[in-house]
């Protein structure tokens, strides 16, 4: 019995050692991101993306980090350079993984950066596109709280612009918060955050 325990422990520690370079790399990159070292995290994700051309998550994270960093960028030249890079990696991820709700959310966010940068120019041009991407994501993953949340956030923004009621979208945010409680990402290293953001949005908009 004791022996069995030992073997089990040994095997566990062994499997710890035998964690694949991919897993180690991804974990390290996520940790860097967690430590607010977004650039270094993006650089590591980029290295993994080049070394592992069949994994969609590394290019997804490069694109995701670059896109999130671009919100609020005012320098047109810098914004365009960053956004071009984000699009290159998004396309790479899309080529690897089809019908992926996370990639649809990211594509919608990418377009939202432009709308936020210059609403007069891009609101008309990309507004319909963003709405459509979220619709596709909802169709693919109707009970994914991350899809619900991002879609609701976009809808709240549009409703405020057109002066219509945001009530139904507040309900979506509430539903997302419920779903986050039992949310199991589809796989290892899949994005899973959003609960705090959902609470903030509810706090700020839906009283």
């Amino acid at each position: 019995m004791k022996n069995l325990l030992f073997i089990t422990i040994a095997l566990i520690s062994f499997s710890g050692i035998s964690q694949t370079p991919y897993q180690k790399g991804m974990q390290k990159a996520l940790d860097l991101w967690g430590e607010n070292k977004a650039n270094e995290a993006a650089n590591l994700f980029e290295r993994i993306a080049i070394a592992e051309p069949i994994e969609w998550l590394p290019p997804f994270y490069v694109s995701y980090i670059t896109t999130i960093q671009s919100f609020g960028e005012k320098d047109a030249a810098k914004l365009k350079t960053q956004m071009d890079k984000a699009m290159v990696f998004l396309k790479e991820a899309k080529a690897i993984s089809k019908e992926n709700s996370e990639l649809l959310i990211l594509e919608a966010l990418w377009h939202t950066v432009w709308v936020a940068y210059d609403g007069a120019t891009y609101g008309m041009k990309y507004g319909g596109k963003v709405t459509m991407l979220y619709q596709e994501a909802v169709n693919l993953a109707p009970n994914n709280p991350r899809v619900l949340l991002n879609n609701a956030e976009w809808n709240i923004g549009s409703a405020k612009f057109f002066g219509t009621s945001i009530e139904p979208f507040c309900n979506d945010v509430k539903r997302a918060i419920e779903l986050f409680k039992d949310f199991k990402p589809e796989g290892e290293f899949y994005p899973k955050g959003g609960l705090d953001r959902a609470k903030n949005i509810l706090e700020e908009n839906c009283k």
């Binding site: 180690k24 270094e40 650089n43 290295r47 993994i48 070394a51 350079t81 120019t121 041009k125 057109f162």
Partner: protein, 721 residues
């Protein structure tokens, strides 16, 4: 017991010793810019491995690797070109790496002498796609919006583009790189024509007022390049109910392909019944049109098929000084245009573009008692290759063929005549784009054309150069030779001529910062080989020659600012033009009546959030145009009074998908005079009587309701207005 543990222990020991047995190599160095500044945050790694790091604030990096042998070290950083070095791992330490700036950046100098762009992601863009349709004076016509740019001349009764002292025929229009032979709908001689094609099919417009690429030929003064939308965003149905007619559109989308169809019916009869104009209409303007675009994506390319058909007719009696009872004029026009193009990637760094267009135009005119029937069949074929050597050097070359077959049947009281000609032109072109750095760029091109009709070969060199003078400003210069055949009015009677020629010299300065743009452009244009004839109008018995010449020179200024005043976006254009030519039947060199000295336009848009409305304003000013007063000595010696017009529009978003749109052209009712017609014979006192050429109506009102039906319930037609 103990023995069973042993293999595992051994295994563990083996594992650890195995790890330590692999030797680690240190890769290190420093990454800097050209000027020695360290680069922070560059990604340094061995390609295909996980080994790498980011540079620190001193630009230095250092990491360990267990790789051995020859490896590729890569350094990448935003807005710099990737660096890579292949070497044995032992050589990769204490490296000093200088990254080259990426010239594929908004900060790179842009060759823009002569050209205006309407697009989103370009620094040289002076208009946004929306502007084409939200400019108050434009009434949804893309040509109308371009007339608020410098370099154009106000010829209010014509509506076409007159660029830098050139007449309207000197501007050629291309859709997706393929020529449009008959771009304008016909109109009466006192009301402006419009572009045939609906503006919402296009998402990129480049308007060049000179010095354009060797890819484009058969244009003496200007080219207008329209690019159709690659992929519509979603399926939708659009309904337009307007004071002048109805419109209906539908878009369907599939995974790889999409189709858009539009139909419109325009009838001015109800409008003219309410607001009669100066024409004596028997059958007011009526037009039916349909357009369709089909797009299909392939693995490595995109196919587009565009087709448009329209039928126009009207009948009226036009005032004339020599015919007290007026001149009876009836017109029926049928026009079909189709354009097919494929663009794609051929192999690594090679792009191919192939396209063809076919135009069939038929115009039946009844003028007093004469019947004139024109038929034109034209085609254009083009094949172009582009090789991308690097971001700094690209080259393209291609070949094209223009075919035109024109016939005219004239049935008069005493004469029955037919005229016909075939005009086939073959062209070859090549062009190199060279970007030396973010501060210096060249474009060198050469175009050769052979005309079957004239049995003549022409060679046109084109060159432009741009230099960045500071972070936000740049200078460009351009030179080019341009050739164009005379138009059908001449070619139907005479084919023993030469291609008309212009030379352009352009100097452009541009300053862009923070949503403000200022441009100033100086130019000089020399005309040679212009067509001359010895009769009042070109007729079959005229003596034609290619001996005319002329010049145009001036300065164009443009200022746009959507930053200084909240919610207001405005632009100002001013053009000064000095031009004279001796051509057609001119006895001396003179300024033609379509060219005026000063042109000014002011366009402003004001977004009122609370009203969900956009209010638009535009003011156009043109100084007087020349005319000949036969009662005095001289030729084109007098000028009309100045032209003024203020237009207003209001777009109201009733709900996200319903828009109400109202516009008034010439809101203050300035009475403008386009010129004078003098009687051919003097009266008893030897005086020639005259009649002012007035616009059909001083003002024009438009009301429309636009409704979009789509699944997402947010898309609308605001971008059409």
């Amino acid at each position: 017991m103990r023995l069973t543990k042993l293999p595992i222990l051994l295994l563990l020991i083996f594992c650890f010793s195995g790890f330590s047995a692999i030797s680690q190599t240190t890769i290190s160095g420093i990454v800097t810019e050209n000027n020695g500044n360290p680069i922070l945050g560059a990604n340094v790694y061995l390609e295909g491995t996980y080994d790498g790091t980011s540079t620190n604030e001193n630009g230095t990096f250092s990491f360990e690797t267990s790789e051995t042998g020859v490896q590729t070290l890569v350094v990448s950083f935003l807005s710099f070109e990737n660096y890579s070095k292949v070497a044995d791992i032992s050589q990769l330490n204490n490296l000093s790496i200088i990254l080259r700036e990426d010239v594929n950046s908004l900060e790179t100098v842009v060759i823009n002498a002569g050209s205006f762009e309407a697009s989103d992601n370009s620094k040289v863009s002076v208009l946004k796609p929306l502007d084409v349709v939200t400019t108050a004076s434009a009434l949804g016509d893309f040509v109308g919006a371009l007339q608020t740019l410098p370099g154009t001349t106000t010829v209010a009764e014509d509506g076409r583009l007159f660029v830098r002292g050139g007449d309207a025929d000197e501007t050629q229009i291309f859709i997706d790189g393929i020529r449009v032979f008959t771009p304008y709908t016909p109109s009466t001689n006192n009301s402006p024509t419009r572009g045939r094609y609906s503006p919402f099919l296009f998402d990129g417009i480049t308007f060049s007022t000179g010095g354009y690429s060797a890819e484009y030929g058969q244009a003496l003064s200007s080219v207008l390049l329209l690019k159709t939308i690659d992929e519509p965003i979603q399926e939708k149905t659009e309904i337009a109910i307007m004071s002048v007619g109805l419109g209906l559109g539908n878009t369907q989308k599939w995974e790889k392909s999409s189709i858009s169809i539009n139909a419109a019916y325009i009838n001015l009869a109800p409008y003219i019944a309410l607001f009669p104009d100066r024409n004596d209409w028997e059958k007011p303007f009526e037009a039916m049109s349909g357009e369709t675009v089909f797009r299909r994506k392939f693995e490595n390319g995109l196919l587009k098929v565009y087709a448009a058909f329209d039928a126009t007719n009207f009948e009226l009696t036009q005032e004339d000084i020599d015919f007290p009872e007026g001149i009876h004029y009836q017109l029926k026009n049928y026009n079909f245009y189709s354009n097919t193009s494929y663009s794609g990637i051929l192999a690594k760094d090679w792009k191919v573009f192939g396209g063809a267009s076919y135009t069939h135009a038929n115009t039946e005119v009844e003028l007093i008692e004469d019947d004139i029937n024109d038929a034109e069949n034209s085609g254009h074929f083009k094949l172009k290759f582009r090789k991308h050597f690097s971001n700094r050097f690209k080259m393209s070359f291609g070949a094209e063929q223009f075919l035109t077959d024109f016939t005219e049947d004239f049935k008069g009281d005493n004469i029955n005549a037919s005229y016909a000609y075939q005009n086939n032109i073959s062209g070859l072109f090549t062009e190199a784009d060279i970007i030396l750095s973010r501060n210096v760029a060249f474009k060198l091109g050469l175009r050769g054309e052979y005309s079957n009709l004239f049995e003549e070969f022409t060679l046109s060199p084109r060159a432009s150069f741009a230099f960045k003078t500071s972070k936000n400003s740049q200078l460009s210069v351009a030179y080019g030779d341009f050739y164009q055949q005379p138009n059908s009015e001449v070619l139907k009677f005479a084919q023993d001529l030469q291609a008309q020629k212009t030379q352009h010299y352009i100097l452009n300065y541009q300053f862009t910062a923070d949503n403000r743009i200022f441009r100033a452009e100086l130019y000089r244009k020399n005309y040679t080989n212009l067509v001359t004839y010895d009769t009042e109008n070109p007729i079959f018995s005229s003596e034609f020659d290619s001996e005319g010449d002329g010049y145009a020179q001036g300065i164009d200024l443009f200022w746009r600012d959507n930053k200084s005043i909240d919610n207001i976006d405005y632009w100002l254009s001013y053009s000064y033009l000095d031009t004279e030519r001796e051509y057609q039947n001119y006895p001396i060199a003179a300024t033609p009546s379509f060219a005026n000295t000063h042109n000014l336009s002011v366009v402003a848009k004001y977004w009122i959030e609370d009203w969900k409305s956009q209010i638009g304003f535009s003011y156009l000013f043109g100084s007087g145009r020349t005319y000949t007063n036969p009662n005095e000595d001289g030729f084109l010696q007098e000028k009309t009074k100045n032209y003024n017009s203020i237009s207003l529009n209001w777009a109201y978003l009733i709900s996200p998908q319903k828009i109400l749109y109202v516009s008034v052209n010439n809101a203050l009712g300035f009475s403008n005079i386009n010129g004078y017609q003098y009687s051919r014979t003097p009266d008893a006192n030897g005086h020639f009587d005259r009649r002012a050429l007035l616009p059909a109506a001083d003002q024009f009102f438009f009301v429309g309701f636009f409704w979009t039906i789509s699944d997402d319930e947010t898309d609308n037609q605001l971008d059409k207005l």
